[in-house]
């Protein structure tokens, strides 16, 4: 679906996700950092797309979410979450059986 870094910013190799989880974000966004570290702590594989380094991804995200490229935006097994709260993220992971 999307192509991005296979490494986390913390140096860990990310396994290909079986249930597609994608995080669109920026390095300086606190909420992106929170979400990524949260997923990693749970051991949930995900793909990370840095919106500042991937202009095509920005255009793709705008198409998919109604014209904005907000960060973080998450895709979890068919479900889009634009700037979710941590509680919304927990619910989405639970619905997908990831938590």
């Amino acid at each position: 679906m999307v192509v991005g870094s296979s490494y986390s910013p913390y140096g860990r190799r990310l396994a290909p996700p079986r249930i597609p989880v994608v995080v669109y974000g920026t390095r300086w966004c606190a909420q992106t950092q929170m979400v990524r570290r949260y997923l990693e702590r749970l051991g949930i594989p995900y793909e990370y797309i840095d919106l500042e380094r991937d202009p095509e991804a920005v255009q793709r995200l705008k198409w998919l979410t109604g014209g904005s490229a907000s960060h973080p935006t998450l895709y979890i097994g068919g479900e889009w979450l634009v700037e979710p709260t941590m509680r919304e993220l927990e619910w989405a992971l639970a619905r997908s059986g990831l938590r």
């Binding site: 606190a30 068919g78 634009v82």
Partner: protein, 243 residues
């Protein structure tokens, strides 16, 4: 966590397949108001589902709750100015200070001699970037503890504002009130924005001997420093002290 194989079968595959189809169609539709309308409709569908999932007792019936207060920053005015200050240089002595925390207890930098201290200067309690930045540090609190580092957050807000804000967010590290004279400590650290009346978003790491080993002023107020870089700095400091 649920068994991965089982979970793979469980998640809404049909929805995922439809999303993939939608993503692939983008390249086949020329840029136009029609394409924009399709994208907006897709966005509306997502937000409708989001609202349905969150449906509960209307705010008017359940009343305002603590989380509503904690989330106020999401609708607060943006704070996005460019930095106007350069931080103190690495290798210089960190100016000492004593500021009250939310209980009124004076906390000084020098009382932490012998351990690494992270000084977190931030603009204002309750504001968007600051709420998210300190939430991040709270979530990762154990990472600081494991590295033996003390975290001291400083803004020009009063100790009463700090107390309420920390309680609402569940922050358990000290918030210090650089309130009177306003911004005096921020000035000593070269991070006070005179025109705005608050500090830059800035970090200092001070080593066990009171020397600045890392300094960072965010290029824009809404940029929150990379946590991984901060933790790496603390790791390097620990290795250096052990050598």
């Amino acid at each position: 966590m649920m068994d991965q194989q089982f979970a793979t079968e469980l998640y809404p595959r049909r929805l995922h397949d439809l999303e993939e189809q939608f993503a692939e169609l983008a390249g086949q539709i020329p840029d136009s108001p029609q394409k924009q309308a399709l994208s907006v409709l897709h966005g509306i569908t997502q937000e409708l589902w989001r609202n349905l999932r969150q449906q509960g007792t209307p705010l008017a019936e359940r009343g305002v709750q603590l989380q509503d207060i904690a989330d106020l920053y999401q609708h607060a005015p943006a704070m996005e100015g460019a930095a106007v200050n350069e931080p103190l240089p690495v290798g210089s002595a960190a100016p000492d200070f004593a500021l009250p925390d939310c209980s009124g207890r004076l906390i000084s930098l020098s009382e932490h001699r012998g351990q690494a201290v992270v000084l977190v200067f931030y603009p204002l309690d309750w504001s968007p970037g600051c709420s998210q930045q300190l939430d991040l540090y709270q979530q990762e609190w154990e990472e600081f503890q494991q590295r033996g580092a003390e975290l001291l957050a400083i803004s020009v807000d009063s100790l009463y504002s700090h107390g309420a804000w920390a309680a609402v967010r569940g922050l358990n590290f000290p918030l210090l009130a650089d309130f009177n004279p306003k911004g005096e400590v921020a000035r000593r650290y070269s991070v006070y924005r005179e025109a705005d009346g608050f500090a830059e978003r800035a970090l200092y790491v001070v080593d066990d001997e009171g020397i600045i080993r890392y300094s960072h002023v965010s290029p824009f107020l809404h940029h929150v420093p990379d946590l991984a870089e901060l933790l790496t700095t603390l790791d390097d400091l620990t290795a250096r002290q052990a050598a």
